[in-house]
Amino acid sequence: MTVRVGHTAEKPAFPILAHELLQDDQTRRNVRHATNVIRNKRALRVEEMPDWQDLRTTAHAIKTHTLLHLPHYLEEFERNCIRAGGQVHWARDADEANTIAIQLIQQAAARQSGVKGHAQPSDRPSSPYPSVPAHAEVIKVKTMTSDEIGMNHALEQRGITPWETDLADMIVQMGKDEPSHIVVPALHKNRHQVRELFLQNMGLTELGTEAEDLTGAARHYLRKKFLEVGIGISGANFAIAETGSVCVVESEGNGRMCVTMPKTLITLIGIEKVIPKFDDLEVFLQLLPRSATGERMNPYNSIWTGVTHGDGPQEFHVILLDNGRTRMMANVRERETLNCIRCGACLNQCPVYRETGGHAYGSIYSGPIGAILSPQLNGMKYSRSLPYASSLCGACYEVCPVKINIPETLIHLRGKIVEQDQNTLAGKLSQESMGMKMAAHLFEHPKQYEAAQRLARTGQGLFEKDGKLVNLPGMAAGWTQYRDLRALPKQSFREWWKRSRTNRGDGSNWSGND
């Protein structure tokens, strides 16, 4: 099994990516503007809910409960979905999911175009799959899960053209770019940049510059696709075990189009998306729109179960995806990460994300949730710099609708990373490791600790100038590159205490235990 999480395996560490992005004033302005807007809207919507904390508590409890009984609920969902005419497939990793999707698409495309009379030979002479038309097409509604497994690339390699239909994902696709935010993936582009992309890609000769003009162009361009393309791909926000239903939460209407108009629908669902009962929607549909876009309710929610005669796709497939999620089931902090309903509120609140934007995280899952989800899906093999891309301020935890304790999880993951590193020679001998071990030793031996304090004060003479320390070596250089560091005071607190107190024989506690 090979888990793949977007391009995380190839991306440099956070500090390196952040360095580039901190110079990018345009992106920083866009990020700041976008996060300010959503953050303020969210705050208003939350303020009017006296039972907001109650909703969060229940949501957390529902998710915790579901994950503790996940096999039960996955089986229940599968049973009910099949009973209603759906077909359920399971995928252990990204490649397996893509392979299943490609097979289903090829079969559907062949059926839809009729089996006779096309010129394209099958690429494998003994292939059990019928020949497909030269260009099988699919329309897609936003799903981060498909980005996670690299679905578009996998489809394109097999001659299938995926058309993104979410405005932002369309912009990202046209720009051959990467999403930079969970909910507003193209926030790194302004409208002039978008207009350029539309002119190039939609075959237009002219186009206004206002957001309305651009949106109107998208509506017109996409309508044709919605009516003509026979295969749709979606994700899901919730998979309801009790009824075997799937729920897609959206604003633009392309979701409704993609799950209604095509003859064949394939829905990719991470196994953590399942919730026990239909009524549980009353909790999540209050938390998600307010957290994600600062609305009381988002424009459209589509809920469907299996296949309905005379309405929508007559062939419906669910692909249940693992891709690293089962790795996260053996520990409370790790399971809790799977509570995530992809609202993006943590991104909007995060003071680190606010400075760098999403691309700094090198993962489609960015911001605070990305910092814990990305490395864990990867089995702590990639995205290892992300748990340190945080000052542990806790703003994310405050706004998380499903109460994921992100700061605690970051610390938990830092523990895992240090443990891994300590098992390598390079890790054990790193400057940080040696420094930490030395510091620990001093903290355990008060007399040596005091000696080190005195030594530092003596030694700082080399670096001191006008009351501040300059050109410090090693890790401390990170501080003085951007900030001044005050010289150590002439006496430590304990020296002052001893000088001014011990004479008075106040019985202060000298345990002398080193």
Partner: protein, 261 residues
């Protein structure tokens, strides 16, 4: 009351003035202060950076040192947050029932500085005098983990002559974050730039906080920008509360150059 002081390693080494202020203030209010001199660190730096095994003996040592303390004051919200959020977890993960017992007995006796004054001593007016414009930076640990609420504000309001001016974006992190400040120094300083912008806009003469770590970050940025010129001075709340008519705290005393303390 007999109050034990846990000074916090970085206060001990870098901000002894804060410890002195705590001691002087509590004694002036008629209490006895005890300082177990073998104390060193609460374990936060190691624990938060992921060195959990190394943090454990540091924590066990501290628990042992404060076994008999009835009341413990800590002028560092981040250390108290470390204790309340992680000590039980550490005992649980270490499968150490004895340590768990020590932790459970320890935690109710610990007070962050502002909590001690308002909750344990029941005071908001400690007879302080500080006729200056002061703004307040709520450190993330005190704001979100300890939920100190309006305690610091009530204490500032109890200071004679003090004029409080609010700060925009006060709940945004200053960017210190422990080892984050050096491991992600560039982002840390970008966050600091935002915070300094808000600090300056407040038009205050002093910015107070419950944590010298934040103040060190803010002061480091301000000093880099403005040096020793007349500027806003970061100062721990305890030092403001320790300022009296007889012994007022001055900006000069907080200057970097020619510091005597």
């Amino acid at each position: 009351m007999r109050i034990h002081l846990f000074i916090a390693c970085y206060n001990d080494t870098l901000f002894p003035r804060t410890g002195m202020a705590v001691v002087n203030l509590l004694e002036r209010l008629g209490h006895e202060v005890v300082f177990p001199t073998s104390q060193t660190c609460c374990g936060q730096m190691h624990y938060n950076t992921g060195y959990h095994a190394e943090a454990l003996p540091i924590v066990q040592k501290l628990l042992h040192e404060f076994l008999d303390a009835e009341t413990i004051v800590v002028p560092s919200a981040s250390c108290v947050a470390m204790m309340r959020d992680h000590y039980e977890l550490m005992a649980h993960n270490a499968n150490d029932l004895h340590m768990m017992g020590d932790v459970k007995s320890f935690l109710p006796r610990v007070f962050e500085f502002s909590e001690l004054i308002t909750d344990k001593l029941g005071l908001t007016d400690v007879g302080a005098y500080f006729p200056h414009r002061v703004t307040y930076h709520p450190s993330c640990h005190s704001l979100r983990l300890l939920n100190v609420g309006d305690r610091p504000m009530r204490l500032l309001q109890g200071v004679e002559g003090l004029e409080y001016t609010p700060m925009e974006g006060s709940d945004q992190c200053c960017g210190f974050g422990g080892t984050f400040a050096v491991k992600n120094a560039e982002v840390s300083s970008a966050m600091l730039a935002d915070k300094i912008g808000c600090v300056k806009k407040s038009n205050a003469e002093f910015v107070a906080a419950l944590d010298n770590s934040c103040l060190m970050q803010i002061d480091g940025g301000l000093h880099r920008e403005m040096g020793s010129r007349d500027r806003i001075r970061p100062v721990h709340l305890a030092e403001i509360l320790n300022s009296t008519r007889d012994n007022p705290l001055t900006a000069e005393a907080l200057a970097w150059e020619g510091a005597t303390a």
